[in-house]
Amino acid sequence: MIRKTVSTVQEALTGVQDGMTLMLGGFGLCGIPENAISELVRLGVKDLTCISNNAGVDDFGLGLLLQKHQVKKMISSYVGENDEFERQMLSGELDVELTPQGTLAEKCRAAQAGFPAFYTPAGYGTEVAEGKETREFNGKMYVLEEAFKADFAFVKAWKGDEAGNLIFKGTARNFNPCMSGAAKITVAEVEELVPAGSLNPNEIHVPGIFVQRIFQGKDYEKRIEQRTVRKRD
């Protein structure tokens, strides 16, 4: 067994520097690497390019990095619920590359799986396709999209073991498996870190080969953005 465990979030983020490109898992506030984000804020690293489907909310998730003006560029598909993000983007303080959600996921997966680029129909004929190569296959038009290149990927899982194997819960899975192994170094934080051998190999979502460092996360808030419920009859 190749051991991937590190004991602290500080150790896990060793090597993160100004100007780096980071991938961060999560959809909205669901499945985000809360511990890694807090440590990025504490480190105060600047001029970051962040690849993440959303940018958190004003006072949580990636919104915390935006508040401190640590982010130079965001690559996201949806920024809806973050006023500070929208303000920084419209004022030109923040460079934003809006990317269709499926393309964003596939650009991660391509980087993980060793594809330099792929064709997708998403965005054909829109401003997303401007300046990109297009090609017809079987009578339909496609846009050539390139794989991401990132320095670090920060992912969050429900359970993980010492070998870096990961299991996710519910829709907190989202972009996390696609980003694992898609950067030079993948750092996984988990709600429950267990000894190798305690997870069933049949139930692993991400094999440990895609993870370089894993640590036991703490103090998860797991905020809910839209609490929707129904009344009991």
Binding site: S77, G170, T171, H205, T228
Partner: protein
């Protein structure tokens, strides 16, 4: 004239037995409330769940189980969770039978715009560009006119596009229309709405052939 629930109720009639359906944010989400309960349908949410159920009972919300609108949800027997790449594989690979989404503008050639108002509002496209570029069966759910009273069914979209030539059917508070080579073909009128009212609210070419029935809800 229909309200948002009325539009959702009419669209629910388009949902057939055995369909996998992706519902967008807003009016489309309401469609789930009106689907007949004697047919088998599974709802997909692009953040990574197939087999969505109703909202949870108070106290049973789980931060790890949400839909694409970030709302807490439940799952039905037979549900599954998956990652974002797999989710959009289902969409691009045409495994999802019906996509219902909202729009700011639709053009008579089937173009759709729903993600950006330059200089004013940028929410992002989310999964909309993947959905409209891939799905073969797309229904747009929207009000016929915007808040200022201007038509949302246009000759050409004025806002940045989400997709080209992809919309097949539109259900609004006034009418059901299909996109054809010659423009918007009027299929049904909302209860109590005249053809003249629909004509007045439609900037793009409206085709009216024969008797236009009222919607059955």
């Amino acid at each position: 004239m229909l309200d948002k629930n009325g539009i959702a109720k009419r669209i629910a009639k388009e949902v057939k037995d055995g369909y996998y359906v992706n519902l967008g944010i807003g009016i489309p989400t309401l469609v789930a409330n009106f689907v007949r309960d004697d047919i088998s349908v599974e709802f997909q949410s692009e953040n990574g769940v197939l087999g969505m159920g109703p909202f949870p009972y108070e106290g049973e919300e789980d931060a790890d189980i949400i839909n694409a609108g970030k709302q807490t949800i439940t799952t039905m027997p037979g549900a599954s969770f998956f990652d974002s790449a797999t989710s959009f594989g289902m969409i691009r690979g045409k495994h999802v039978d019906l996509t219902i989404l909202g729009a700011m503008e639709v053009a008579e050639n089937g173009d759709i715009a729903n993600w950006k108002i330059p200089g004013k509002m940028v929410k992002g496209m989310g999964g909309a560009m993947d959905l409209v570029a891939s799905a073969e069966n797309i229904i747009v759910a929207m009000m016929h006119t915007n808040r200022a009273g201007a038509s949302k069914l246009l000759k050409r979209c004025t806002l940045p596009l989400t997709g080209v030539g992809c919309v097949k059917k539109i259900v609004t508070n006034l009418a059901v229309l299909e996109v054809t080579e010659k423009g918007f073909n009027l299929l049904e009128r909302a209860p109590g709405v005249s053809i003249e009212e629909i004509q007045k609210a439609t900037e793009g070419n409206l085709i009216v052939q024969g008797e236009i029935p009222e919607m059955e809800l």
